[in-house]
Amino acid sequence: MKRFPLAILIAAFCVFLAWSVALRQALLFLVGIGLGAVLAGARFGFTTGWRRLIEQRDPSGVLAQLVLLAVAAAVSMPLLAAYPTDLGAALGPPSISLLVGAFVFGACMQVADGCGSGTLYKAGLGIPLNMAILPVFAIGSFLGSATLDRWLALGAMPPYGLVTHFGAPVALLLTLAGLALVGFGVVRWSGRSAPLWNRKLLWGAVLLAALAVLNLVIAGQPWGIVYGFGLWAAKIAAAAHLFDPSANPFWSEPVNAATLAQSVFLDVTSITNIGILAGALWIAAGKPAAAAKPMNGTQWAVGLVAGLLLGYSSRLAFGCNIGAMVSGISTGSLHGWIWVPMAFLGSLIGVRVRRHYAF
């Protein structure tokens, strides 16, 4: 599809949201379009950045991610302190579930060549594997949420928020010091074998940080992705009478039961997810179709299993690279700092699996 008719379709959907759903949702859809356009336009891949660091000692992708986290934290933390009742941080509990989930997620995102945001924008760009993975990601996310109570029973601490405990200035200083430490380690590891900075990725990082902050200011909650996926699959499972939400500890909670009963257009993460898909589609529409690399049956099977596990593990880990890493760290959640090393350890395995199956 050409960009102009697509822009009309997107504008029409935005008007529909503003008229029939809520002005806030129309605004969040626009934020989602921005996120999708930046992710796809700058090819800002969290998975690829980590893989290039591991395999080629190229630090530019990871350093851009650190800039994104620092800029988002520098704005989000003072906002959270200024509006403690209106805005919420992405607080997940440090737990066995988090350790297992982040490790598995880190491994699977390398195999599936996409994390939460990566799967969305690459599906929007029309990349076949990511389009096929999106539905199984949603099923996995639903299964993860439906079994979350059993994982939490293995051991969990209450969520720990740096802004709540230390106040915004100290929380921000601690966060920036942590990010600087990681950056120092990344530069040392790379051995200066590749340029440290990539201008396109840096611009992408700053724009993504600005849009993530806008998401927080408008929605009152940080940017997230996998909750929406799980919701979509839960709706289908409940409608098909495969699952009774009222008998499930997670989906019978008032917030989730209410979300399940209402249109997905009222759900914050769903509407930004749709925006990301639309933004990436708009970017793809302006370019000639890229030839997709042919895949054999084994690669498809491995990719789809990885996609299912991505969804499942992202719920166990209380978010993907966006909900746990970007939103967790930038809003001062301890769980984000536990997520990153565990997911990186998983990625060290994942890149080997990826090579083994010749992706």
């Binding site: 389009m131 909650q221 997905v264």
Partner: protein, 54 residues
């Protein structure tokens, strides 16, 4: 060619799901819509999030 078919199927299924959901979910009450901007609204965030345990 079959990738074009996959892309078309992807968008048709996705749009079909959203249309089905719109017709089968509780009607939206636009009189109780959330504040346009949460910051400064005095309204606590009420949506689900990936990091929440509930």
């Amino acid at each position: 060619m079959h990738f074009r078919f996959l892309a078309a199927a992807f968008w048709i299924v996705l749009a079909g799901f959203f249309a089905w959901d719109w017709t089968h979910s509780a009607p939206v009450n636009v009189r109780t819509e959330p504040p346009l901007i949460a910051a400064g609204s005095g309204v606590a965030p009420s949506g689900g999030h990936c990091a929440s345990t509930f």
